[in-house]
């Protein structure tokens, strides 16, 4: 006889805690701190099948440039331990088509949309931002400065604080005041704090951290690079400690600057790490490929995790890991005595 257990029933979950999870990215209020990461959610439409995209803080769209772009040849992807390498090459429809199709859909759908923009020159960044200024439905701008500067032998803007600052001030000037401009920083720099300073001085309202870090895989069958683009951006849980470190360092140096944290977030507790390190909100990236409904799951897991730790609101948890060290216990505290006894016990048993 065939007996089947059915595991497809919705798991009986604890009701969500009644806790204020709202947050801000600069002047942009968010219902909760969960966004998608640029390049991992396209323009939201595909993911709306798996969860209601209006129930998360926002959608950060795939970086859009001035013109349509085919991107790089395949293979564009290689799986790595707890992560992946990608080398897409900013494939996209161009800003006009993006506004007409993707942004219009997101606006109609009622999603909060942060538009990621990219460019090969300061001028292109400014033009894309200028087009978006005329469009409806842009709640924020994320500036992807991890692209090669065609005017500087292909050096990426993110690794050159002067060029990065030029991009940021041009975008800030071309963007409606009150629409926050966040700048996405690369971890592939010697001192991320100095880049952060440069872009904030140039007018950035906040920082997104981190972009992928450059990596490479050799295919041991073909004995050639696994990616057509040779190198690729490493993402996923593999880079999470690096991302938390970047958020920590920048928040410590500039606690007043809002941070959108990202890099390998897979669970609510992962997201909490970024919040505790100083992020006001977080983006969910590579794990979406693994679990397309993960932004909604992580939203709920984070709410529970924040409530369980006794915070009255998400806001109280932001940067909490930077607090003063706890006051040391007096030596005659009961815990100390117990510890002493335990020691004696183990010593006596060792004597036997």
């Amino acid at each position: 006889m065939t007996r089947m257990r059915l595991t497809t029933k919705p798991e009986t979950e604890q009701p969500l805690p009644d806790i204020d999870m709202s947050t801000h990215l600069g002047e942009l209020p968010l219902v909760n701190p969960i966004l998608t990461a640029s390049g991992c959610a396209a323009a939201g439409r595909e993911l709306d099948q798996f969860f209601d995209i209006t129930t998360i803080g926002g959608i950060v769209t795939k970086s859009v440039m001035q013109n349509p772009r085919s991107g790089r040849p395949t293979p564009r992807m290689a799986e790595t331990p707890s992560g992946m390498l990608n080398s897409i090459g900013l494939q996209g429809p161009g800003v006009d088509s993006f506004i007409e199709r993707d942004l219009a859909w997101l606006h109609e759908r009622g999603a909060t949309t942060v538009v990621s923009i990219a460019g090969g020159s300061v001028e292109e960044f400014a033009k894309v931002a200028g087009k978006l200024r005329m469009a409806t439905g842009v709640s924020g701008i994320e500036v992807n400065i991890s692209c090669p500067n065609v005017e500087s032998r292909g050096e990426v803007f993110a690794c050159d604080p002067v060029a990065a600052a030029e991009v940021v001030s041009a975008v800030r000037r071309s963007t409606t005041p009150g629409v926050p401009v966040f700048v996405k920083l690369s971890p592939d720099v010697t001192d991320i704090v100095s880049v952060a300073h440069a872009v904030v001085e140039a007018g950035a309202d906040g920082l997104s951290m981190i972009n992928t870090t450059l990596g490479m895989v050799i295919n041991t069958d073909t004995m050639r690079p696994a990616l057509a683009g040779i190198t690729g951006g490493l993402s996923g849980p593999a880079i999470r400690p690096m991302a938390v470190r970047c958020v920590w360092q920048v928040h410590q140096a500039m606690p007043e600057v809002p941070i959108l944290g990202m890099g390998g977030i897979r669970t609510g507790l992962d997201a909490l790490e970024f919040i505790l390190a100083g992020a006001s909100a977080v983006s969910i990236g590579t794990v979406i490929f693994h679990d397309p409904s993960s932004p909604a799951r992580i939203r709920d897991e984070l709410a529970r995790a924040v409530a369980e730790r006794g915070f009255a609101s998400l806001n109280d948890a932001i940067g909490y890991a930077h607090r003063e060290p706890d006051i040391e216990l007096e030596p005659q505290g009961p815990a100390f005595v117990e510890f002493d006894e335990a020691l004696e016990d183990s010593e006596s048993s060792a004597d036997l």
Binding site: M4, R5, L6, T7, T8, G39, C40, A41, A42, E46, L47, Q49, F50, K62, N67, P68, R69, S70, G71, R72, P73, T74, P75, R76, M77, E79, P81, S82, G83, M84, N86, I88, Q91, G92, P93, G94, D96, S97, R101, A228, G236, P237, T286, V287, I288, F289, H290, D291, P292, S293
Partner: protein, 323 residues
């Protein structure tokens, strides 16, 4: 519309060099059409293997109160498929599906040849059923490198007018490749459509054969994917749209089934110069822009199929809406 479900392993068994995995997948089986695929998580909840594995659906069944079941066929190609092969009855499994665009069915009861390479044959059997329901003659051509890599020969025989088998080592059927025998079948049955699923080289050869005979081909491609749902942009191929323009399209959402004459087979793995948005195209467009200063109309995601004589499988249902 795809769903993500926590499914359960119903059964797993070996077939030659392959594994047949049956899963309880409510909400997926009911909506799957021939050519659709599913994307599975591998390695458990804390797996270091993050990317989904995509498999075309071999068959689906409705099983009473438990909801539908979905079967896939795979071979062990790495740690992810090795993990899948290790599953036991009742193990949970995270399934997303049905994904992609299915095979398009002919409106008229025309003769069709179904060509499968290795376990690529898996989606062809439900397709054969649908075609036969519409009164189409079905001939099968199945090929593999060796006999143990052949899939579904008996099943194919049962549901077809004829079946031809090729193996590269001659261990079963004719020694050679599917395209060696294909012209003979097309000529004998006066075929109007070729349906194919298998390695890229085989699909290219099938598409070429179809063009030579002036008939249609529908090819289900295998491209490596990270997500399967259209967000990662890793599974792109150069495909010609209805407007004659080439775009890098996602094989997960605009495929996996393409018209054979629309895929630029010999340029898969490259970005042809005339692709919209390529470096050369951008250069040329900028030059003409400066000359004419006219905006470039660009439309993404144009449907690449949509031949009049064909009916979208999703519209067709069982009632023969074709006329």
């Amino acid at each position: 519309m795809a769903v993500q479900v926590k499914g359960e392993v119903l059964d797993i068994r070996r077939i030659g060099s392959y594994f047949n995995l049956s899963m309880v997948a409510p909400g997926i089986a009911e909506h799957a059409r021939p050519g659709h695929f599913v994307a599975l998580n591998v390695g458990g909840d804390s797996s270091s293997l993050l990317l989904r594995r995509a498999f075309s659906i071999y068959r689906t069944e409705q099983r009473g109160v438990y909801g539908g079941t979905v079967d896939i066929v795979f071979s062990i190609a790495g740690p992810g498929t090795a993990w899948l092969a290790d599953r036991q009855r009742h193990d949970p499994i995270d399934i997303v599906g049905p994904l992609g665009r299915p095979f398009v069915l002919p409106a008229e009861p025309v003769p069709c040849v179904l060509i499968g390479g290795g376990y690529g044959a898996a989606p062809l059997f439900t397709l054969a059923e649908k075609l036969r329901e519409r009164g189409c003659r079905v001939d099968f051509v199945l090929g593999a490198s060796t006999e143990d890599r052949l899939f579904g020969a008996l099943e194919g025989k049962r549901m077809s007018q004829s079946i031809a088998i090729t193996t590269e080592d001659g261990s079963l059927g004719e020694r050679g490749r599917v395209t060696d025998v294909l012209p003979r079948i097309i000529e004998r049955s006066d075929s109007a459509v070729l349906y194919a699923c298998g390695p890229m080289g085989m699909l290219q050869a099938v598409a070429k054969t179809a063009e030579r005979y002036g008939i249609h081909s529908q090819c289900a491609v295998e491209e490596s994917m990270a997500c399967g749902v259209g967000v990662c942009m890793t599974c792109v191929m150069p495909v010609i749209g209805d407007d004659g323009q080439t775009r890098m399209v996602r094989s997960c959402v605009e495929g996996p089934v393409f018209r054979g004459d629309r895929v630029r087979w010999s340029e898969v793995g490259t970005v042809p110069d005339d692709t919209i948005g390529s470096i050369a195209w951008t250069q040329a467009t900028n030059d003409s822009l400066f000359a004419a200063s006219a905006p470039v109309a660009v439309e993404e995601d144009l449907p690449v199929d949509g031949e009049d004589a064909f009916v979208e499988a999703s519209d067709a249902d069982d009632e023969g809406s074709a006329s």
